[in-house]
C-alpha cells in the first residue's frame, strides 16, 4: 500500500496525538525536542537519539520490527546476517523477512550498508576481495550462503538493476534476451516473444519496437534503465533487486521508473534500495530504516513515515537528521 498522499504532502511535523508510546522517550521531553528541531534543525545535542548513540558506540540494539511486517509470508528471510569487508564490519546482525509479492524499500544515510545488503542477496559481494559473511539469507527456505549453493543458478532466480544504467554494448534485443541466451536458448520465436513481453512489462515496447536491432547505447538514460529492468525480468525472477535505480536519472525519467516499479510490484517481489525518502514513501509497501550497518526500524511504509516508533526514524524520514 504505497503512501500516495505523501507525494503532494511531504511529511510535516508529526501530530502529537498520533504518536505511539515510545519507551525511551517520555512525551514531555519529546515535545521540547520537537520545538528545538523545528527551530534549529540539527541543533540537537548528543543523547537525544539513544538508539543511534548506541549504534555509534558499536552496539547492535534490537531493531523495532513492527508486528505488521513479521506476520506476512516472506519469500526472502534474512537471519542474523553479518558481513565484513576485511576487518571492517559492514552489516551487523540484520534480521528481516521480505514480504512475498510486495515492494520493500531500504532507506538510510550513505554508507549504512543498504546496497551491501542488497548485493548480499544475489552474492554479488563475492566478487569483492576479503568479504566474509555470517548468518543466513534464505530464498524460499534455502540459504543462499549454504555450502554447495550454485551461485550461477541462484542469480538466475534473481533480477538486479543498478544505480547507473548499464546496458551492454549490443542491440536492444540482445540486451533483453541476454539471460535466455546464456542459458542456451536459441529458438528465435521463444526469444522474440520473451523480448516483447519483457519490454511491454518495462513500458518500453512502444518506444523501441521499431529499432530492436539498434544499439542499446543510443537510448536515453531513462530508456536505458527501463531496458535494464526488462533485462532483469525476462526470466521472471523470484525477487527483483533495485539498487538506487533512479539516482542517475532526471526527475521525469525518475517518475516513469517509479510508476513502472509500482506496476512491476504487482507481479514480482521487489526489494529497492533508495536514498530518496519520498521515493520509498511513494513506491513501497514496507520500509526498512538502516543506520551504520544495523536495521533500526522496519514496518509498513505508512507506519514508518507517519507513525514511526523511534524518534530516530521520525527525524530521519522528515529530514531533520542523517
Amino acid at each position: 500500500m504505497p503512501v500516495s498522499s505523501l507525494m503532494t504532502q511531504p511529511p510535516a511535523s508529526p501530530k502529537p496525538q498520533s504518536e505511539p508510546p515510545v519507551v525511551e522517550m517520555p512525551p514531555r521531553k519529546r515535545a521540547i525536542i520537537a520545538v528545538g528541531a523545528t527551530a534549529g534543525g540539527s541543533a540537537l545535542a548528543g543523547g537525544q537519539y539513544p538508539v543511534i548513540d548506541a549504534i555509534k558506540r558499536g552496539e547492535t540494539p534490537e531493531p523495532r520490527r513492527h508486528e505488521s511486517v513479521m506476520g506476512v509470508p516472506s519469500v526472502l528471510d534474512i537471519r542474523d546476517f553479518q558481513l565484513w569487508y576485511g576487518q571492517n564490519k559492514a552489516l551487523h546482525g540484520i534480521n528481516m523477512p521480505i514480504a512475498e509479492g510486495k515492494i520493500t524499500s531500504i532507506i538510510g544515510p550513505s554508507g549504512c550498508g543498504k546496497s551491501t545488503l542488497l548485493r548480499s542477496v544475489n552474492r554479488l559481494n563475492d566478487l569483492v576481495d576479503g568479504v566474509r559473511t555470517a548468518g543466513t539469507i534464505a530464498l524460499q527456505g534455502e540459504d543462499v550462503y549454504a555450502r554447495g549453493v550454485d551461485v550461477i543458478s541462484l542469480r538466475k532466480r534473481l533480477g538486479m538493476v543498478f544505480q547507473k544504467p548499464n546496458p551492454f554494448p549490443m542491440s536492444i534485443f540482445e540486451n533483453v534476451v541476454y539471460a535466455l541466451r546464456i542459458s542456451g536458448e536459441r529458438r528465435k520465436a521463444v526469444l522474440g516473444q520473451a523480448c516483447e513481453k519483457a519490454l511491454r512489462q518495462a513500458a518500453l515496447w512502444d518506444e523501441v519496437k521499431d529499432r530492436l536491432k539498434g544499439s542499446a547505447m543510443g537510448l536515453s538514460g531513462g530508456q536505458q534503465q527501463r531496458l535494464c529492468i526488462a533485462r532483469a525480468i525476462v526470466c521472471e525472477p523470484q525477487v527483483l533487486l533495485l539498487d538506487e535505480p533512479c539516482s542517475a536519472l532526471d526527475p521525469i525519467a525518475t517518475l516513469r521508473i517509479e510508476e513502472l516499479i509500482l506496476e512491476i510490484g504487482q507481479r514480482y517481489t521487489v526489494l529497492i534500495v533508495t536514498h530518496n525518502m519520498q521515493q520509498a514513501a511513494r513506491v513501497s509497501d514496507f520500509t526498512a530504516f538502516m543506520y551504520l550497518g544495523r536495521l533500526v526500524e522496519y514496518g509498513r511504509t505508512a507506519d514508518i513515515f507517519q507513525l514511526p516508533r523511534l524518534r530516530e526514524t521520525e527525524d530521519y524520514v522528515t529530514g531533520r537528521f542523517g
Binding site: 566478487l127 548499464n166 542499446a216 533485462r231
Partner: protein
Amino acid sequence: MSRSFAEFRRRTISSIMFALCAGGASLIIAILLLVIGYLVWIGVSSLSWDFLTTVPTGDVANPGGMRHAIDGTIILVALASAIGVPIGVLAGIYLAEYPGEHVATGPLRFLADVLTGVPSIVVGILGYELVVVPVSRWTHGSVSFSGYAGAAALAFIMIPIVARTTEEMLRLVPRSYREGSLALGATRAQTIFRVVLPGAFGGVATGIMLAMGRIAGETAPLLFTALGSRLLTHNPAEPFPSLTLQIYTYATGPYPEQKRLAWAGILVLLAMLFVVNLSIRIVASRHARMRMGA
C-alpha cells in the same frame, strides 16, 4: 612601468616556447616528408606491373619483380597472426580478468613488457636454435629454414604486444558491464566472451593490427628462420621469401638494377603498412560509433 615589463617578459617567453614547439613539430613533419618524398622519387620509377607480378630472373641486368616477396610477407603475417593472436588475446584476458588468482599477474605483466622490448635479432636467433635446428634434425634435413619457423619467430614478437593491449583494453570496459552480466546468472567465461570482449572489440582489434604492422616490417627475426627465397612459393615448409628479406638482399648487393628494385620494394612495404594503419582507424572509429549508439 614594472607591470608592463612583466607583461613584455611573459609575452616573450610565451612566443619563444611557441616557436620551439612549432619548430619541433615542423622538423618531424619535414623529416617524414623528406623520407617519403625520396622514396617515392626513387621507388616509383622502378615500380611497374611486372614488379608486382613477376619473380626474380637471376639476370642482374634485368632482375624481374618481387611477386614472391609480396606473397611471402602476406602469408608470413597471416600465419604469425594465426598463432599469435589467439595466444595473445587469451593471455591478455588472463591478465585482466583473473588477476592474482593462480599466478601472480604482476611478474607476468612485467615479463610481457620485457618480451616486447627484446631486440628482434634475438628472436631470430631463438627461432633458429629452437625451431630451425630441431626441426631439421627430426626431418633429417628435409625441412630446415622454413616459412613456419619465420612465422613462429614473428608470432613470438606479436604475442606480448597483443596480450598487453588486450589487457589494457579489457580494463577500460566498465565494471558495471561485468556486474550486470554476472547478476543475470552468467558465468565468468560467458561474461568475458559475450560482454567484456565485444565491449573492447575496437581496442583489441587496433592492438592486433598494430602488431601485424610491426611484424610485417621485421627483417632480423626472419634472417635465420625463413631465410628468404628467390622462388615463388606458397609452401611454408620451404625456405620462404619476404619483402624485407628481399629488400635487404638487393640493397646490400652490388648490382644497381637490384638496388632500384629494393627501393620499389620499400615503397610497396610502406604502402601495405599504410593500408593496415588506415584500416585500424576505420575499425576504431566504427567501434566508437557503435559505443556511442549511432
